[in-house]
């Protein structure tokens, strides 16, 4: 399995780098400024893909957690652990870029808006998940408790996604919904390229981190075995 990860990670990483470089070029150099926001709309090409990737990361985390509780595969547990770590980085980046975008458009760095609050709760759940994994010593119990927390925390995802539809909010509504598109094609294309790039980057990072966690456990096991062989 690890060998297969190593085989695919190169392709995934290469495709992510290509998409991100093209997306950054389109977003920063060729795309037009917005009629009401001006040039500052370029933050969208980073903020929106980061936010979408955070939701993807949590979905992968919840799916891996369910899988782990069903099959007890330690490698799937490593993948869940990796998704949480990488997802926390993307969630934090989405919050920081969103805050920077809010200042020139809303004239504030932060507001108690349903979308912002539910997204911050998502970050807190991920931090809680990582802390739980760091605090419990027994590997099997740690994996089981963390999987349950991840599945319970999944309830926040629909709240994040639909918060702009369910409540009166300062955050803009969904640009792509059943009502149709509310974004021009010139902006949608770089946004889509960046979104694909960020998703591929997430999968690449999860592959690398899964290997990292697996190798750490392997090295610990090897060292432990070697120590147990030292004559007393």
């Amino acid at each position: 399995m690890i060998r297969r990860l190593r085989r695919y990670e190169g392709w995934c990483g290469g495709a992510a780098a290509a998409c991100l470089l093209v997306g950054l070029y389109l977003g920063l150099v060729t795309s037009p400024p917005d009629a009401t926001q001006g040039e500052v709309v370029r933050i969208m090409y980073l903020h929106v893909p980061f936010a979408k990737t955070s939701l993807l990361a949590y979905t992968v985390l919840a799916a891996c957690s369910l899988w782990y509780l069903w099959r007890r595969d330690p490698l799937v547990d490593n993948a869940a652990h990796a998704s949480a770590g990488v997802g926390a980085i993307f969630t934090m980046a989405a919050l920081v870029t969103g805050s920077i975008w809010a200042k020139p458009t809303w004239n504030t760095w932060w507001t108690w808006d349903p979308r912002l609050v539910s997204f911050t709760v998502l970050l807190l759940i991920l931090i809680g998940y990582l802390m739980l994994r760091a605090l419990v010593d027994d590997i099997e119990r740690q994996a089981r408790y963390a999987a349950i927390l991840a599945i319970v925390g999944f309830v926040d995802l629909p709240i994040v996604y639909f918060s702009v539809e369910w409540w009166r909010t300062l955050h803009q509504p969904l640009s792509v919904s059943q009502r149709g598109l509310s974004i021009s094609a010139e902006m949608l294309f770089p946004l889509a390229v960046m979104a694909v790039g960020c998703s591929l980057l997430f999968f690449y990072m999860v592959m690398v981190r899964t290997q990292l966690l697996y190798l750490e456990h392997l090295l610990e096991a090897k060292q432990g075995r070697l120590l147990s062989q030292v004559p007393r």
Binding site: L21, L24, L28, T36, Q37, L46, A93, P104, L219
Partner: protein, 166 residues
């Protein structure tokens, strides 16, 4: 390990290339000058002037799509004659960017376009704070994986003892 560093040098180089292109676009198409710069240098090509619409100076002819106002900087002010599509951006005490040609004889800017504040500081901050931590995180992880593979390869030297126990 050499391949890892080489790959990252490539990624950083491409990233810097895009940053330079973005910066060039900002310098040539976005960066505004102040009314003081305009009065001092008398540029005759198309200019972008950043200033505030002086209170009480705005006169508009909505039917003809014209507006005239004084654009104030820190010390100087220039007269602006705007002809073009009606825009909500032209309001008294509003800070905006006027795009047009400076006419030294008339002492006014003949503007064809009104743009909003570029806010490039926010864009730069968002891109740096968004991408650099992710890049550093990924680089650290990849480096650690390579080091772990090396450590495990070295740890294998002791495996014969393990076989002996079985």
């Amino acid at each position: 390990m050499a391949w890892l560093y080489l790959r990252w040098v490539g990624i950083v180089t491409f990233g810097l290339l895009i940053a330079v292109l973005g910066l060039r676009r900002y310098e040539t198409q976005v960066r505004p000058i102040t009314p003081e710069d305009l009065v001092r240098h008398h540029q005759t090509d198309t200019v972008r002037v950043l200033g505030m619409v002086q209170a009480g100076s705005l006169t508009t002819d909505a039917l003809a799509g014209r507006a005239a106002f004084r654009l104030v900087g820190e010390k100087d002010a220039v007269l602006v004659h705007y002809t073009g599509a009606p825009t909500e951006a032209i309001r008294e005490l509003k800070t905006l960017v006027v795009v047009g040609r400076w006419s030294p004889l008339g002492g006014a800017v003949e503007a064809k376009e009104i743009a909003l504040l570029p806010n490039y500081g926010f864009i730069t901050a968002a891109y740096l704070l968004g991408l650099v931590p992710i890049g550093l995180f990924l680089f650290t992880m990849e480096r650690r994986v390579r080091l772990l593979y090396n450590d495990i390869r070295q740890a294998k030297l002791y495996e014969p003892e393990e076989i002996g126990l079985d």
